[in-house]
Each structure stands twice: as structure tokens, then as C-alpha cells.
Amino acid sequence: MEKTFAGKHEVRALDGVSFAVEPGTVFGLLGPNGSGKTTAVRVLTTILKPDRGAARVLGHDVVRQAAVVRSVIGLAGQYAAVDENLTGRENLRMVGNLNHLDRPTVARRTMELLEQFNLADAGDRPLKTYSGGMRRRLDLAAALVGHPPVLFLDEPTTGLDPQSRNDLWEVIENLVSEGTTVLLTTQYLEEADRLAGTLAVIDHGRVIAEGTPKELKANLGATVLEVGLSSSHEAERTAVLLDTLGPHHPAMNGTVVEVTVDDGPRSAMEGLRALDSEGIVPTGFTLREPSLDDVFLSLTGRRAENENEGTPA
């Protein structure tokens, strides 16, 4: 797919993105703001037409069979697209009617979803009284009114507190266990890791890596060992010691030494032994998973900067 936004600054939002999703799985599109994730979702949900290329959802072409595609998808976005002036129940009913479900089905689905998303008590309150997490849950519920076999989630947890994020992850996992196919975009490696069976890392409208989270992380240089020291002299000595751990060379950042290691726990033990034998006592000692920043650094040679989307998405 290709898509260019004309205007003051021409933005090539999609530059030959291509991927396929197994039915009944979660596919994650991972990338920073402005990488083209949202544009890809908007093309796949028939909101935008691609300039070039084609996309199919359940075999239906998103341009030529847009109406059919719309009847098999659900979309929940990072901007909770619910009507502020209506109650939760009215919002779900509106979407049900617009899905052309019959009256009893709309009523039943509305009840079920309010229950399922823990909004039954708040169902008849106007949205103004809802918290951010509640709105996001309602937004997701609205995407599910028509029982869509394919669900698009555009940064479903951006801006949520950890508790709400966890709740939402559980809901998504339940949907997938019932057979829904999910395409998820996210900026968080942790989220992609937890939910997605397959991931595509996207940057400047291109897929730059694809695989399971495990494969990607293995390629990305597994784990980062971070050692804090009390002086820069000690940091220099530590850097020399840690250089023997593996193929990657340590980097010094003030009095902190960072090194990427392939086998975290083993390298940590070897590192500690080496420091102990030299009588160095670290002030900090951390093993951490690579962050999205590390992923980008290793894939593109630069930090994942936040660029603006070419359009208010």
C-alpha cells in the first residue's frame, strides 16, 4: 500500500507497506508516532483510499468492496470516538442501529457489552462522568456491537493508567480466544509482546522488520545490562571488564555502563564475579528488556523520534 498526503509538507505516510495476518491471531504494528501505523489502519478500515496497491480484509477488497469490508470489521481508536452528549447505552445503541442490527439484537448486545466491560452501572450516565479508562472501554465495546470477526485497535491503551491498560489487555485476550482476528497498533513493546503473535515494525511507512516478538527481540540483541558506579574511574575499569562478556561493546554514560548481552542471567553472574574479583561495588545493577527505542536504534541506527502524523488521525 502507498499513501501520500499532499499539503504544505507532503508526507509519504505509507511507502510500500505489505503484510498478511493469520485469522484468529493478533497482529501488531509497532512504530513511533508518524510511522504510518494509523494510516495503514485507516486504509484497511476503508476510511482512506490507498494511492497505490491493494488491501483485502477477509478476502474483500477495501476499495472495491468497501461496504462489505465495513460489515465485517470493528474499529477502536486512540481517540475514544464516543459521543460525549449521550449515555454509554445510547452510544452503543446508536452504533448497533448504524450496523443495521434489528431492535432486539441491539438491545441485547448493548446489555451484554455493558456487562462485559464493567459499565452496567454507568450505562445510563452521560459520558461526561466517565473516566478515561471507562471511555476507552466503551469505545472498544462500540467496536464490538456488530460481532465483527476482524477488529482494528489503533493504540488502544495509549494514555491509560497501568490498571486500565491491564484490564483492556485481558478483554482483548478474551476476544482472541473466541476467534476474533485483531490488528493492533502500538508504541509499546510491552503491549506488543503481551498481545501480538506476530509483529511488524514500521517506520516511515515501511515495514522494517517482521516476526514473532521473540524472534524480533533475539535479533535486537536480547537484554541490556546496566551497571551504575560511584566514580568515572570505576566506570572505566568496569567497562573494560564487561567487554569480555560477549560480542557487544559496553557504552559509558557518565558513571553508568551499558552493555547489550545475549544471555541476560548468565552474563549478569559473570559480570558480578568479574567486578567482585576486582573489588568494585556497583551502586546499581539492572537487567532490562530492550525498549522500543533500543529496537529502533538497532534497526535504523537512530532513536525512535516522535514525528507528527501527516494528518490529525
Binding site: 500500500m1 503484510f19 488491501a55 483485502r56 470516538a81 460525549e84 443495521h100
Partner: protein, 275 residues
Amino acid sequence: MTTAAATAASPNPGPGPDGFATRARWAVSDTLTLTRRNLLALVRLPEAVFFSAVQPIMFVLLFRYVFGGAIHTPGVSYVNYLMPGIFVQTVAFGAVSTSIGLAEDLQKGLIERFRALPMTRSAVLIGRTLADLVRNVFTVVIMTAVGFLVGFRPTTGVLPYLVGVGLILLFSYALSWGFAVIGLSAPNSETAQVMSFPVLFPLTFISSAFVPVAQMPSWLRGFATYQPVSVTVSACRALLLGGSTASWVVQSVAWTVGLLVVLIPLASWRYRHRT
């Protein structure tokens, strides 16, 4: 390049467009759903409705008691001259809410949701403009009552009043489509409001709504006489106060139809291409 495919394990083509009758039924039900949704917003915000009535009432009082004495309207009391103008001005100002409402729906992502639903696309714009039409009916009723309180006395009876008000409401419906174009072109609702006023002010004030055109400089009179607000005010005035009506009514209907013919496709095009 190509292929973002999620191939179906279970065949679920969904209820595609099967037949004209079904599609027509859906179009009506979608439009009603969205009209209802927009009207519910009005019920939920009674303060907003109250304050939107305050401004036209202030205009009535201002022109009736402050400026009115200085404006000479031969053969008719100023309050009788004024009220048809106020009706049209009020519904014209009210039409701005079409642009604000659409800009807000765009901003909040509701339009994105609608576009990904298997609904009739035109229902978004028709539902919005119909809801604004319903609101304008109430506005005109309120302004008629306010007019009566300050001495407005139409002289021709109920039927001509209903025809006159009907013309104004039709005209307001055409204007709503114009403001829909603005709302769909604005980056946000605040800008939509600001963008609406340069259209609104010349239309409502360089008109025969408040001041007889004869009192304006000659270079302004052509525009001031034949622009849509003026001909609609003149038609309504003739219907409510007596005088020859046919020519003004025809001109007003012609403007309304002409505006609808141009603005509906324009707004629909903006809606389809807004990204």
C-alpha cells in the same frame, strides 16, 4: 505495494447491499438514528440552548428600543418591520451550529467511526442538517413569542404566517449545508465558528433585515436587495404584513433551491475527501 490480507476461515460476507429497497430502508433508518443523536445533544445541554436564545432576544431588544427609533420604515411600524428580519437572522446564526457540530465530530473521531461502519454515508450530513432544522423550528416559535411581547402584530393571519415561516425554515436548511461545507473544511470547532462569521455578517447585516435598503449608499443597494437573506426577509414581510408577495416568494425559493443544488454536492464532496 500490495496485500494486507486476513483470509477468512469462516465465510462471513456480511449483509452486503442487497437490493434498492433494503438500501433505502437503511438510508432512512441511519438518517433518523443520527438526527435523533444530534437532537439528544440539544436536550442534554439545556444551558447551551438557553444561551443560544439569549443572543437573538438581545438583538430584538436592541433594535426595538435602541436603534429602532433612528430607522425610518415608511408605512409600517418598526417592530413589525424588524421581526421577519430577526427570524431570518436567528436561523442564519443558528446554522453556524451545523459547522461547529460537524467540526467537533471530525475532531473527536466520531466521523472516523461512522466511516468505518456499514451505514449510509450521506446520513451523517442529512442527520446533522435535519436536527438543525428541527431546532430552528423551536427558535422561530420562541422568537415569535418574544416578538409578540414587544409589540409585533402580523396583520394577515395564521396561514400566511405559516407560509412565511416555512420559507425561512427552508432557507435555513439550505444555509445549514453551506455551513456544513465550512465545518468540514475547518481544522477544529473553534476555527469553524470563526470561519462562519465572515459569511454570516455581510449576509445578515448588509440586507433588508434591519434597515430599509433605500437608506444605504447606492453601490450597496443591488447586493442588499437581491441577496438571499434580503429576498427571504422581504417575502416573509410581504406574507406577514401584506403587500405583493409573488415575486419575493419566487426569488426566495429560487435562492433556496439554487443553494441546495450547489451546496449539497459540495458538502458531500468535502465529506468524502476529508482525510
